[in-house]
């Protein structure tokens, strides 16, 4: 049945369903138990499933991921929470060196069904290390799958699929959209986890985004429509793998592409998309693929983040530049 709920609540409901469906699913992280997580994403889960299934961990990210790997080797399906994007790096070694490579190292004889949840991105006026978008740092690593939902329904279903995945999934949650409400049909049949979706059809230019930037791109498309421009908005949903077929199909129609993400442009996912689409759509493109994202600078203090993050005008500016070719 369909119900309107906030994105954070959708993840909560999805985790509840996963815990209910499979006794091997465990949720672990800092403050995920009694507190329900600093964003309340795991609210009430420990009360209902107990301390053995919803585990408050010591404050040590490498330890959280490292023990999750051990639990996975024992047959568990851990869903771990990294409290904030900027806190993931103590666990980076375990994720990159162990979690990502274990299946290949074992020649396929062990599986690593571990979900690493990371609230990410800026726009909430936070202190340092609480607003970063490190997805490209993980996308470069073979063995990991990386997804980021943009709305409540995707958050619910993509989490279901991530928990069921036998591969490690880094689940980037757009924290500034946690409180955005949307319809969630808990009896729907979800599409594949790593397929993009056209959220708005258009003819003049494609905006490709994921996570928190999808909503922005829809607003950009609205604004552009007022100026008589028809923009297509593509929600990529997955950063590894990236659904290049969907991007290609869209670009073959619109002939122009702007990729938008909060992460720094330099070596970002937009760079990979630009390179691949240039190869695939060279004769279709009317303009070079443009990117809008963060700068090659540390994430700025909160009072400066509006100037750092892509916003309506910056994306529109890129749209104008593309259409000017």
């Amino acid at each position: 049945m369909a119900e309107k709920m906030a994105l954070a609540k959708a993840i909560n409901e999805s985790l509840r369903r996963a815990l209910d469906a499979d006794p091997k699913v465990v949720v672990m992280g800092e403050d995920v138990g009694k507190l329900g997580g600093v964003f309340r994403v795991t609210d009430g889960l420990q009360k209902d499933f107990g301390e053995s299934r919803v585990i408050d961990t010591p404050l040590a990210e490498s330890g959280i991921v490292g023990t999750a790997i051990g639990l996975a080797l024992r047959g568990y399906r851990p869903v771990v929470e990294i409290q904030f994007d900027g806190f993931v790096f103590p666990a980076y070694d375990q994720i990159v060196t162990q979690l990502a490579k274990m299946h290949a190292r074992a020649l396929g004889k062990v599986k690593m069904p571990v979900v690493v949840r990371i609230p990410y991105g800026g726009g909430i006026g936070a202190v340092e290390h609480h607003s970063e978008s490190p997805e490209a740092l993980f996308a470069h690593v073979a063995g990991l799958k990386i997804v980021s939902p943009s709305n409540a329904s995707d958050a619910y279903w993509m989490m279901q699929q991530a928990v069921q995945s036998d591969d490690p999934v880094i689940f980037f949650e757009p924290k500034r959209r946690y409180w955005d409400k949307g319809e969630v049909d808990t009896e729907a049949i979800p599409g594949p986890l790593h397929k993009a979706r056209v959220v708005r059809e258009g003819t003049d230019l494609t905006l490709a985004a994921y996570g928190p930037m999808v909503k922005l791109c829809q607003e950009v498309a609205d604004a552009a429509a007022e100026e008589g421009r028809s923009l297509e908005v593509l929600d990529l949903r997955s950063v590894s793998p990236i659904d290049f077929d969907a991007v290609q199909a869209s670009v073959e129609k619109t002939r122009r592409l702007v990729v938008v993400h909060e992460a720094p442009v330099f070596f970002g996912s937009g760079a990979e998309i630009a390179a691949r689409i240039t190869e695939r759509c060279f004769y279709h493109l009317e303009a070079p693929v443009l990117r809008v994202g963060g700068y090659h600078a540390p994430y700025p203090p909160a009072r400066l983040e509006e100037s750092y993050l892509p916003d309506l005008d910056r994306v529109l500016d890129a749209v104008d530049r593309s259409l000017a070719y």
């Binding site: 010591p58 040590a60 051990g70 799958k145």
Partner: protein
């Protein structure tokens, strides 16, 4: 560096105290032995067999080897001899160009066989990359260990086949995996245990400290077995710690014990004790096996640049195999026939390993793309296809040969 001798020392004993233990332990009436607490004194260690092959009594640990038979003792001896023979063969194979690298366990046979033989089949082992003796105890075919050193895979055995996880090269990481696995055992309500191997160098890693924390907090059934072989490549243990390593456990709230790493009986007894604690729900234990890396760190290392011969000679006198042989002979537990037969078996093992390695084929090129993911990945599929097309382009040039 000053190497602490294991030879001249006998375990210090006082009523109710375990030599060389610190921390909490429910089964003893007092826990304050604090070996090493007196900075001027050398820490005590648990020893049941002197370098001269004399059995010494130990009130605390004798009970763990009380039922050991002559056949068991010959078995331990055989394990150590065959492991050393395998190790020597692997070193030779590296010199002959058949292996790219080898990490020798020479000198650490007692620590590995003693602890390895303390395990039950349903226990789980998380090794570093030097645990060839433990692998032997687990029944992993030694030739399977060589694939990664030859460069045909990154770990060629099924970890669940023998409850022996893959070798972990980034030191210390596996202590967390061991802890997580042990947490799973608790959740399952099983009474098996986990043992995590690591070295004096890895003891400095943050992951090891985090593993100590997690295992203590969750009271996980895990034994941390640190083989202090005195050298982390070129760095002596003083570069890792200002306190004897086993004392680290105290701060985390569980017992630590130092054992003579070259005494197979002591390693067997202490590991059994630690495993029993784990099974009884008493949580983690740190065992520091005080031993010596007789060879180089790996075949790429040159120890003459950082340590002298006299140190090695001192440790040779404490050789783990020699001391058990002395004991077996003195106690009439083994005759010449046994040793001769073992020599033959040993040579046969060397030959088998040699032949298996030489026959080990290079993997198919497409193995690059295998097992990257369990459920597949579009990019891997695309790149595999590109690679296949590229390979096929050469076939075309051959004119369809």
């Amino acid at each position: 560096m000053t190497v602490e001798s294991t030879a001249a020392r006998t375990p210090r004993r006082s009523a109710g105290n375990k030599a060389g233990t610190t921390g909490t332990k429910r089964t003893t009436s007092t826990t304050k032995k604090a070996a090493g607490a007196d900075k001027s004194a050398e820490p005590a260690l648990v020893q049941l067999l002197t370098p001269e092959g004399k059995r010494v009594k130990n009130a605390e640990f004798d009970t763990y080897v009380a039922d050991i038979t002559a056949e068991d003792l010959r078995g331990l001896y055989r394990d150590m001899v065959l492991t050393r023979r395998f190790d020597a063969e692997a070193t030779a194979l590296q010199r002959q160009g058949e292996l790219g690298l080898w990490a020798s366990l020479l000198g650490q046979e007692a620590a590995q066989i003693g602890s390895g033989r303390a395990l039950r089949d349903d226990d789980y082992v998380f090794p570093t990359y030097r645990e060839h003796g433990v692998a032997w105890c687990r029944g992993v075919d030694p030739t399977n260990l060589l694939g990664m050193f030859r460069g045909v895979n990154n770990g060629g055995w099924d970890p669940n086949g023998n409850n022996f996880h893959l070798y972990t090269i980034v030191i210390g990481s596996q202590t967390l995996h061991a802890t997580g696995y042990a947490m799973g055992i608790t959740k399952d309500g099983a009474d098996s245990a986990v043992i995590a191997y690591f070295g004096d160098g890895a003891s400095s890693q943050g992951d090891v400290a985090e593993a100590f924390t997690f295992s203590a907090v969750y009271n996980a059934p895990v034994v941390f077995f640190c083989q202090n072989n005195q050298w982390a490549i070129s760095e002596p243990t003083e570069k890792q710690s200002r306190v004897p390593l086993y004392q680290r456990a105290q701060g985390f709230g569980f017992p630590g014990v130092r054992v003579d790493g070259n005494d197979v009986l002591a390693n067997l007894a202490v590991t059994k004790w630690a495993l029993e604690r784990a099974r009884a729900g008493e949580g983690p234990t740190l065992v520091e096996a005080f031993t010596y890396r007789m060879g180089a760190h790996t075949t790429s290392d040159d120890p003459t640049r950082y340590r002298g011969d006299e140190e090695r000679l001192a440790w040779e006198a404490k050789d783990p195999i020699l001391r058990l042989r002395r004991y077996l002979e003195a106690a009439n537990h083994a005759d010449e026939g046994f040793f001769a037969e073992l020599e033959t078996e040993s040579e046969a093992l060397g030959k088998r390993v040699r032949e298996a390695v030489r026959a080990m084929p290079d993997p198919d090129h497409f193995a690059i793309f295998e097992n990257v993911y369990a459920d597949g990945h579009a990019l891997v599929d695309e790149e595999r296809a590109q690679f296949a097309a590229y390979q096929d382009s050469f076939a075309d040039e051959d004119g369809g040969k």
